[in-house]
Symmetry: C2
Subunit: 188 residues, 2 copies
DNA sequence: GTCTATAACGAGATAGAC
DNA sequence: GTCTATCTCGTTATAGAC
């Protein structure tokens, strides 16, 4: 991992744990083991770093989704795998970086906003496809538009992460996601 | 409204829009029309202000829930009224203050944390009671524990607020909450 | 590409007069 | 209860040597 990747990884973790307004170049510099000034060589401004972070994070998410697709799993198992992404994030004391940024949207550089919106659109589209596939195959059950159910599922996962964080109750997250999965597993 | 209440109202709005790490005493002072130093007379530290903000916000929420209870509405209408609280918050370009704080939890003074967790517990308990009432009366339908459904509903509302914020799509929020309400309205 | 040094500004907080 | 003045520290960012 070269320095630029090291910076991105460190900053990403800090955003996921503390928010974009909750970390500084000093935090990153200490973790990476270089001086603050050197960070500016890689990312001239914090806004530039922010844009790069979203791009990098979205690419990681796309990879994860592509990996789920490549597994050839049944739609229900794809859904479970998607939920597992959020759960493992919570386990490492983080939340979705874009969920965090979404709350801070009014304080962010405008250059970050289109990429942020794109992240949620991409997630919803992928999940809608899984749900549509499951409905067509008769293994998942939903009334109404798959896109709406997909958006609602993303919302539930983001919100459950947030609530779980304040209560420190990972078991509550599991019970919420169990209901989510269950809702698609039986005729309703 | 005396000065202390004015400060709380201004700070609350700033937290809901920008986060606890996204506003400063200078922002509040300008809005209230006093100097930064004067703020410290009312709230010695920002952490003290934070604690007072959660207490005040929780009290407002309790009032709103009590008002819904006093309306004598049917459980389904109580659920809709609860959803409407979140919607009107979004309309004024804010999100739930405690949802915002929940994401920033790792940066907050520890004195704020118990009150924050209590807010979510209180919301979940109230909603669980509404769902239980509706189930008993045969007007709402749910499988499994009402507490789990209540927690999931709170998560969905928090998450939908967050997602709506980044996409600026209030209609998407409405479609998500429609699914939520619909899920309790029909046998499943 | 990294460093030292420093600029320029804003943050939370305090002292003491009125 | 509010003010002016100030402190101390942390923030992003830049200049220029190595």
């Amino acid at each position: 991992m070269d320095t630029k990747e090291h910076i991105l990884a460190s900053a990403q973790r800090l955003v996921q744990q503390r928010g974009f307004n909750g970390f500084s170049y000093a935090d990153v510099a200490e973790e990476v083991g270089i001086r603050k000034a050197s960070l500016h060589h890689h990312f001239a401004s914090k806004a530039d770093l922010g844009v790069a972070l979203i791009e990098s994070y979205a690419a990681q998410f796309d990879d994860a989704l592509a990996h789920i697709d490549a597994s050839g799993s049944k739609p229900l198992d794809k859904l479970k795998a998607y939920v597992a992404i959020y759960r493992s994030t919570l386990e490492s004391d983080r939340i979705c970086m874009c969920g965090m940024l979404a709350t801070e949207v009014l304080t962010l550089d405008v250059g970050m906003l289109p990429k942020l919106a794109r992240f949620f659109a991409r997630n919803t589209e992928w999940l809608a496809q899984v749900l549509t596939e499951g409905k067509a195959g008769g293994t998942l059950f939903l009334e109404g538009a798959a896109a709406d159910h997909a958006r609602a599922a993303v919302s539930t996962l983001q919100g459950a992460s947030l609530v779980c964080r304040s209560t420190g109750d990972l078991d509550a997250f599991d019970r919420t996601t169990a209901l989510l999965i269950n809702g698609f597993s039986r005729k309703g």
